[in-house]
Symmetry: C2
Subunit: 416 residues, 2 copies
């Protein structure tokens, strides 16, 4: 039994000029890992036949599976299909299944007449096996060369993900795959180096087949153990024993021992307690509510939010007193306290979060520089306030503040 | 004069297992493009010395500049620095500047004692030139090999971006660079194929040095013209003439002819008109407010938002009548109309957006399947409602709905 390796090749000038962030590679890598295929390389190349050809040649040599996304649209800038045809020595033919699919899409879903350009999408190299695209008009294509499997898919994430639903079971049948197991702890309140000192003896004693990684992420650090093996039960036992030992060492800093986000952790606590939450947001502008509601089923514990961006709204909807705003300013302990009280009065909610701050790039003063944030969390019975400082650019300041606020809320609920 | 090419190499197992989405590559590519350096390849490799070595060898052959991120943390899983030392035939020494920087950070910023592990970050190969990291403890490093410039930076985006502030002017001095010019139109209300048919004659007649790309993105399509040349004025004149011709052809679908987001376009209109906006959000859970406030200076036109996730909040804060909710349901034309009226009454705002829908994966019914959305936009004088259907997974449904709502608001403002 041998390990099976994959390469992910993403095609498109937009990736090389930075106009688009490549989320496909990460998604594909997750899916492959889940079934025991390790990704060896991820490479992005432009819409250039020579570059694509080269990338395929290089990756064919190192990987058993090459997954390709992008360059399959109906328009003339998409050059991948003719290139694949040449690379695999085929000639273009019309695929009947793909043709029916294009016709069906335009008739039943888009309610538009099919054009010449669209019909061309049903043409594929005769040396490939077509993987039908239920979510769009560009078919997936499956090629083989010198023992390597090549799968070409469109770059639109939703379409690619639909095609992968067929690719994954195929790969599982085609290869004998090991179990790849990751175990992750999310910690907060401790830096990467301090963590490293606490667990240095543990790390040195780890068996060589288990790898430890530190993933720092703005105020939190993820610790990840990874291993793989063809005997799933034995492999799981080995990593679980180490994972228990690791958790013991960093116990007081653990947010979660699963690979989940802060909003998932908080949501689970609220769901279990049958409690609810609401937010009053100024500088985060709805980002906290947005994180909470990104989780399916959030309606079971999220009531709503008052985004009081202007001082008018702070007064009219959250009853923040005018003289408090005038005396202490919108970014102050006094104001977030009032925002939280106002929120807890207006909403039928167990808990509330209130945030006010200066996210930049403008709006800072000598007393209250960009990055100054006040956070209040609590219930009707008890409230706590925190003064934090962010030191990033605007969007990052907002994200970090939102996650911090969720973490402070989480701590408040479990510690009181 | 020759074109200068770069490769971006990102290092880290987290990139290959899909735990982290690589945003560094896109950011770096944008910066390089701006100064006239074209990115030839982007490659991600794991924390594996052989893989890293190989990637450096391959990229050195094709590129003038190789930018490397990741693998420079203080912990044992970071193997990049010793590998670079070996690759460039150096030996490790302590860099005095980096040492002072680590000490300063811990004393002045983190307010913690410096540990052994942290001090090791000041060690660098003696064959590199150090680029000080003002935002963290891992220094940037600048190497040269056979005419290729190698820059190694930490993977934390905020730290990498700080180091790039010094790298960019260095590259501009070191190479004679052409102008790379992109011109982008954002269209809405027309598909990729239909656009292709409208502009097919234009596309065929484009001079070979200008490339046209279609970037479809859920209900919108970006058209991008790209060219480069050492004579900036001449190059700009050529592309501008084509850009004017292209804009004429697709005039009625243009959202913007700059490379900007929907929220930037809307913000500019509001700022120019000295008008304000507010939102009442159910299914988008604050995502529209969050998009609006992601733009610096949004406080000049954004009042606030009522995120009425529960029916209670729809009634208490937006005055949606109970019998409307009971008769038509929360996801209905009647409810979003009431949400919008309630919002316009509660907030001192020129315009309002109200949204209610079912984002999935659960909550759909036969009558109202997942993806059903009602959007209302308007002012006190005039309101319009729209029924739209999304067909993606939850997070994408939320994103697309939020952007669509902003676009409908934009159209309402300019067309009435």
């Amino acid at each position: 039994m041998k390990n099976i390796y994959a390469s992910v090749v993403t095609i498109g000038d937009e990736l090389l000029i930075g106009q688009v962030i490549d989320t496909n590679s990460a998604w594909i890598a997750q899916q492959l890992n889940r079934i025991g295929i390790a990704v060896k390389n991820r490479i992005s190349v432009g819409d250039d036949p020579d570059e694509i050809w080269n990338a395929l040649d290089i990756e064919q040599k190192v990987s058993d599976v090459v997954l390709i996304t992008g360059g399959l649209g109906p328009t003339a800038d998409d050059i991948t299909k003719p290139l694949l045809c040449k690379y695999f020595n085929g000639k273009m033919i019309v695929d009947e299944g793909a043709l029916q699919n294009v016709k069906r899409l335009f008739e039943k879903v888009y309610h538009k007449p099919v054009s010449e350009v669209n019909l061309k999408q049903a043409e594929v190299p005769d040396v490939c096996e077509v993987i039908q695209n239920k979510r769009g008009s560009a078919p997936g294509m499956h090629f083989q060369k010198e023992g390597t499997v090549f799968i070409s898919m469109p770059g639109v994430p939703y379409e690619m993900q639909g095609i992968m639903e067929d690719v994954i079971p195929y790969l599982q049948k085609r290869f004998e795959l090991p179990a790849i197991i990751h175990k992750t702890i999310l910690t907060s309140g401790i830096g990467e180096s301090a963590l490293a000192e606490i667990i240095q003896d543990f790390e040195k004693a780890l068996p060589p087949e288990i790898r430890l990684a530190y993933l720092p992420n703005y105020g939190m650090v993820r610790l990840r153990l990874t291993t793989s093996g063809f005997d799933r039960i034995k492999t799981e036992n080995v990593i679980n024993a180490e994972f228990v030992a690791l958790k013991k060492l960093v116990k007081e800093y653990i947010v979660t021992d699963e690979d989940e986000t802060m909003q998932e952790v908080l949501g689970k606590i609220l769901l279990k307690n049958r409690e609810t939450i609401s937010t009053a947001e100024s500088c985060t502008g709805g980002a906290i509510a947005s994180l909470i509601t990104s989780i399916p089923g959030a309606s079971a514990y999220f009531q709503g939010s008052i985004v009081s961006y202007s001082n008018d709204v702070k007064q009219s909807l959250l009853n923040v007193k005018k003289d408090i705003l005038e005396k202490y300013g919108a970014v102050s302990e006094e104001t977030v306290k009032e925002m939280l009280s106002g929120l807890l009065n207006k909403m039928d909610t167990t808990y509330g979060i209130a945030v006010s701050g200066i996210m930049g790039p403008d709006g800072g003063t000598e007393d209250k520089p960009v990055g100054t944030v006040w956070i209040a969390v609590g219930s009707k019975e008890n409230q706590k306030t925190y003064h934090v400082k962010q030191r990033f650019e605007r969007q990052k300041n907002i994200e970090v503040t939102a996650t911090m606020a969720l973490n402070l809320m989480r701590k408040f609920i479990i510690e009181g």
